[in-house]
Amino acid sequence: MISQLFILSSKGDPLIYKDFRGDCGGSDVAEIFYRKVTELPGDQPPVVMHHKGYHFVHIRHFSLYLVVTTSGGVSPFILLELLSRLATLLSDYCGSISEKTLSLNVALVYELLDEVLDYGYIQTTSTEMLRNFIQTEAVVSKPFNLFELSSVGLFGAETQQSKVAPSSAASRPVLTGRSDQSHKNDVFLDVIERLSVLIGSNGSLLKVDVQGEIRLKSFLPSCSEMRIGLTEEFCVGKSELRGYGPGVRVDEVSFHGSVRLDEFESHRILRLQPSQGELTIMRYQLSDDLPSPLPFRLFPSVQWDHGSGRLQVYLKLRCDLPPKSQALHVKLHLPLPRGVASLSQDLSSPEQKAELGEGVLQWDLPRVQGGSQLCGLFQMDVPGLPDPPSPAPPLGLGPASLSFELPRYTCSGLQVRFLRLTAPGTPGNTSPHTWVRHLSHSDTYVIRI
């Protein structure tokens, strides 16, 4: 059972504090926690901490700390899952979760906590059930405007070509409901894949891992049945093969409990009755065999002149996406040896930018078209090396890591064929807008040098 729950800002100010049982110290626990978490020596795992007979378990959500205290006898998985569910709930209700939105919506958050936990026991976390009990309306920090096109997101909608939903459309409170009727009936379906890749210094592929999920955010007030059609060639496991093409294969799939799978075997259709709010319908993962080539290849060459202490790094980045696709916000991050001072650069196109951060070289490429190749030549001085400098390059160079987003692209090849709502939402309203988006982004994409 949980004794207390509190949310701290990154600076340690308590934003929310609730004591359920009154058995784990007074309200100074938040202070104790913050002191402990900031004073930790580097090698201690900070997820759980102990203080005078009770335990702190916390997660970090963006810059906030969500913390529970317990006197033990409870599964860490329940606590961690609850905390992340709570973070989702709060962003469902407040639009987004940040220091500002939380302090604007104190009453709403306490109301939620009151229903989610009683005497430290979890009661319910379903958005649908909680909706009946929540009376406060969310205060949104900035009024939402659907037509604010300056913030057009990285992914447009594919199903409705005439309209483009800004990326912020999905980050508004689920339950603003009563005041603006017009935006009530949007459904967002996102296929999001996280890619973690490790490439050895000889160019060999050491590890590929794709973690995918299909996430649904529904603003529909009533529960109409939804049918989601996935790529027909979709198959699970190594043995199964469908269709004649190469197929879209994943290693493992798990579905949310509310998904009905009667048509999954035959037609790859998922059926469910979504409630308002966010829901992860399906998670899948795939490792080692990707159907398509990796999005990026890096060909580095490093020259080290130990006489003058000059380090020359030549990076060639090749994008192996199909020519029509592109990668956005590509950032290459290369740790450098300690004490690197001056940087001279020679980049292949003007929109790129490279700068020297704290001990790292940051190379920004805002947009990379599939099939293109970009290169940069960087020269640096490494002063203050021990005498005599060793012939091996100094420690701390590399590995390079890339971060990027690939809109309208999934590495596994999984696509949502259609999204249909069988019973339209509220009568008298226009039919709901459905937005289907595909996105891959890098979790870690590391290339050893």
């Binding site: 970090r60 109301e111 009683d118 379903s126 973690s196 493992e252 490792s287 420690l395």
Partner: protein, 738 residues
Amino acid sequence: MPYLGSEDVVKELKKALCNPHIQADRPRYRNVIQRVIRHMTQGVDVSSVFMEMVKASATVDIVQKKLVYLYMCTYAPLKPDLALLAINTLCKDCSDPNPMVRGLALRSMCSLRMPGVQEYIQQPILNGLRDKASYVRRVAVLGCAKMYNLHADSEVDGTLVNELYSLLRDQDPIVVVNCLRALEEILKHEGGVVINKPIAHHLLNRMPDLDQWGQAEVLGFLLRYQPRSEEELFAILNLLDSSLQSSSPAVVMAATKLFLVLAKEFPHVQTDVLVRVKGPLLTACSSESRELCFAALCHVRRILRSLPGHFSSHYKKFFCSYSEPHYIKLQKVEVLCELVNDENVQQVLDELRDYCTDVSADLAQAAIFAIGAIARTYTDQCVQILTELLVLRQEHITSAVVQTFRNLVWLCPQCMEAVCQALPGCEENIQDSEGKQALIWLLGVHGETIPNAPYVLEDFVENVKAETFPAVKMELLTALLRLFLSRPAECQDMLGRLLYYCIEEEKDMAVRDRGLFYYRLLLTGIDEVKRILCSPKSDPSLGLLEDQAERPVNSWVSEFNTLVPMYSKACWAAISSPQVSEPHGPEPSGNGVLSASGSLVSENKEERQPLCDSGSFLLLPNGQLTAEQFEKTWLSLEVAHREVFPWQGVAHPDTIQTALQMVNIQTIALSKAGVQPWKAYFSAQDGAGCLFLTELLLDPEQSQVRLSVKQSQAKAEALNSFISVLKTVIGTIVGIKS
């Protein structure tokens, strides 16, 4: 948190709350109340507006009510008399037609943590248990637990307990789970809620109705149920099969634990279950939530203890990625070194070698120690990698490599030659105490095969004045004395200088005593020195010391899916160890120490006699036991005596071993100095042939030592005599150290 000007704020709030204009304007009124709550959250003491808040509770605005009740629950313990005023409103709300209001009022009323509230809440709770709205029943059921905990000393109300047991059959799944929780708390002195066969099967049937939290908790309660027959057991396992594939990690882990516990007599079922949760566990290990990932990794390590090869084919999942936080990387390194096998050893070592040059010194050292652990099986490859790392001439790397070498030489003597070749030159790149100690130890013990060993030690002797760590000086003394035995010509002069320095100039008493001890030992003749210093060493083949032994699943299953695996071993030991009661050890006075250490050194057969002879109790000098015999006997015996006493300073193996040798207690195995947890095993035999096996476990954080003695024949008197001898000796050593 002292907030400046908080008094003004409270005054202003009070004024606003009393203002009739604001009270009439509902949004403004609510706004003021929200500000009170906000200040309360920040730690400002706003209890002085309690009266005004009580007034604000009489409203039809349900949001305002919720806020006021939240306020009351927080400050009721401070203002019990004022809180009683609010009871009226709360009681009235408990019979409101709106179930939401009823529930809210009942929940708040039960959460007022103040004495005397019990008499007011009893009736509303009983009404609530029979309410037709499930929402109110949920609240009322937990209300029973709250009421009971307010007066934990009161008698358990039998009718209430029966009512709760019958509510286990309620329609609403949350009421069912709440009943279990409430019963658990009310009956905690009687061992918690009883799960008999009908209840167990009822719960199993309700499983599909529950949400993930309910499922996870019910699975926890089912751990208590003991199926009557094998058929029933397997029927239950079949029913729960789908829980193992749940998308919620909490349910999967709870189900895994239940399976492992229920099938504790069927190891093949346990293995099968662990194979089946491999997928979900690996998913959690690469989860987007770092914290979940960490929890999963900790549990993977537990599983690997019993099934070392379990995740070997998935080793790539445990490669660190660049952006992961430190604590995950360290866990992954630990996991990696536990799942090596013949097929993946090359890849894993390549990966670990990359971490060795990581910018973070902690990770680099962890990776080096991990390679050292792998080296116990794959010695040649690892020693080669480690030797190559020395070329980098980085301080933290060299130090870690030398420490690894020290442990390796001890465990795998066959790699001695390679290590000895790699050592020369290391001394230039070691600055920290641990690394220096390791290097000096290696030079002392294997000095005869390292040509320049005396010259390296000579450098240390030259600079001993500037040395800041006493432990290094002590290690240097021992090492030099050892080397003197094998290469006297090169060492005699500097040994003299070092002893002179330690005795005449050294400020640290422990070092000085060590110097004196060796000096007097040398006076007794070279044969005696050899007998003491080169006495049988602790045996590396002893599994007990290493703690590497494979453990059966049943040994850790009770800790599975709790917070225990989330702490490091040392950390958990510190949390769970009982507080030291009274120091039991003999109080070493200044005189006692001197005479004791004097008698230790000017030892003679006749003088030794009184020390180990207490009454008719006599330990035999030739009670030699091999490590295997010891281990076998140790595991077969029960602990006859357990004790905790305080311990200061660093346990130095050689001193302890030498001192105990004097009273005929033989050292079987010792950890290196500074290793955590530090352990030692001793054996002794008395005249009647009774064996005494002893374990010392040092906990440096609490500065206490745990002593367990096992006895081959149950003789209380002999046991007491043995313990008093042992404690006298240890007390003397502790005295020297302190």
